[in-house]
Symmetry: C2
Subunit: 220 residues, 2 copies
């Protein structure tokens, strides 16, 4: 998200490997929110040098997953209901803007990418694969806005949100909303280039998840 990676395959640099591992650990809660991160521990855990770990931590700082305290090391960014609420709000504002712009700029190419992303998400097998495809779908919605910074913010915020989702419930008792119907609604409106409907459906999708999570998190 942070590094401009070209070759898709195997991870080349030690820094990048450490970055991905640690990111995963924070998103999944293996490194709990607010906890001090000791370089030496991580170094051994990831079986790498201190420099890559340190750099990866600096990188994670960009993603707001890690905070740096001058001369005193790093810690996983603390979590709080207020923080969650702010993330949700920012996502609504930024994604609303970007989605409308994407639709305004609609092209056949974008529509095709969207069709594929939607299809892959529906076909995805297993939680892991679904999560990935889900993010791709949401990011594809925004990808035609010609607004790279906005996309970057949205991607960051998406990840932060995932972290809260994992934090709220390990094996989620996903309240039986029909998630895939919600996605279909967003998708259809976007393909029809109906910005108001698409945006309304998207925001409602977020707000529903938001309410549910906020409730789970109340006992923080």
């Amino acid at each position: 998200m942070n590094m401009i990676d070209h070759g898709s395959g195997k991870e080349k640099s030690a820094t990048r490997a450490a970055y991905l591992s640690m990111r995963d650990m924070i998103l999944k809660g293996t490194l709990p929110a607010g906890e001090k991160i000791k370089i030496e521990n991580l170094r051994k855990l990831l079986d790498t040098g201190a420099s890559p770990v340190r750099e990866a931590l600096s990188l994670l700082t960009s993603d707001m997953l890690v905070e740096r305290i001058d001369q005193r090391g790093f810690r996983a960014t603390p979590a709080s209901p207020e923080n969650f609420a702010e993330i949700l709000n920012l996502r609504c504002v930024l994604e609303d803007m970007a989605l409308r712009q994407s639709i305004a700029n609609a092209t056949p190419d974008w529509e095709e990418r969207l069709v594929l992303a939607h299809h892959h998400m529906n076909r995805a097998v297993g939680a892991e694969a679904f999560e990935d495809a889900h993010k791709v779908f949401h990011m594809t919605l925004l990808s035609n806005a010609a607004a790279p910074m906005t996309e970057r913010y949205c991607s960051q915020l998406y990840d932060l949100n995932i972290r809260y989702r994992n934090l709220a419930a390990s094996e989620v008792t996903y309240k039986r909303r029909d998630i895939s119907a919600e996605h279909a609604q967003i998708f259809d409106a976007a393909i029809k280039r109906n910005a108001d409907d698409a945006s309304a459906a998207l925001l409602s999708h977020y707000r529903l998840t938001g309410e549910y999570l906020a409730q789970q998190l109340s006992g923080l």
Copy 2:
């Protein structure tokens, strides 16, 4: 902006010193947009080790002032009219939201801080001091929104905007708008807790500067 700094006085870590210097160099254009940054050069220039330089660069990545290319080092983020336009747009959206929220949460304490910030800005002598006070004033406007991430984004975007301002014209022929009247207008509306007026004045302030700069930048 990025590091949580406590002691105000002398910079403690080499990393922080390097961070501040390089940030300044990029904002001022000493390190031109898009240019490759060679660690060794900077190391010598700043008279410090490679590690602090490297870490400072990672940190600058968070601020979107530097891009990292895996295995291929760093470069100052390229500048473009499109990028400038996106920054302006994001600022308008985010600051509008934050300012309204700040006003909605208005307290005597916030108002006092705002009065002082406004006063200091008017009293500031010299371009350097004015710039600093100007940023403080704008950030103070938003500081009561209880939205730390939004503040962080706005602060980042403010800096990116300054970079473009410096890029557009070294010794600015500041078209004779009455900047201080514009500020007074924003200030007065905020103090009166009139969110609509304050926001309108703020956005107009930004859009005026934006138009002016966009024009200067057209010959990029």
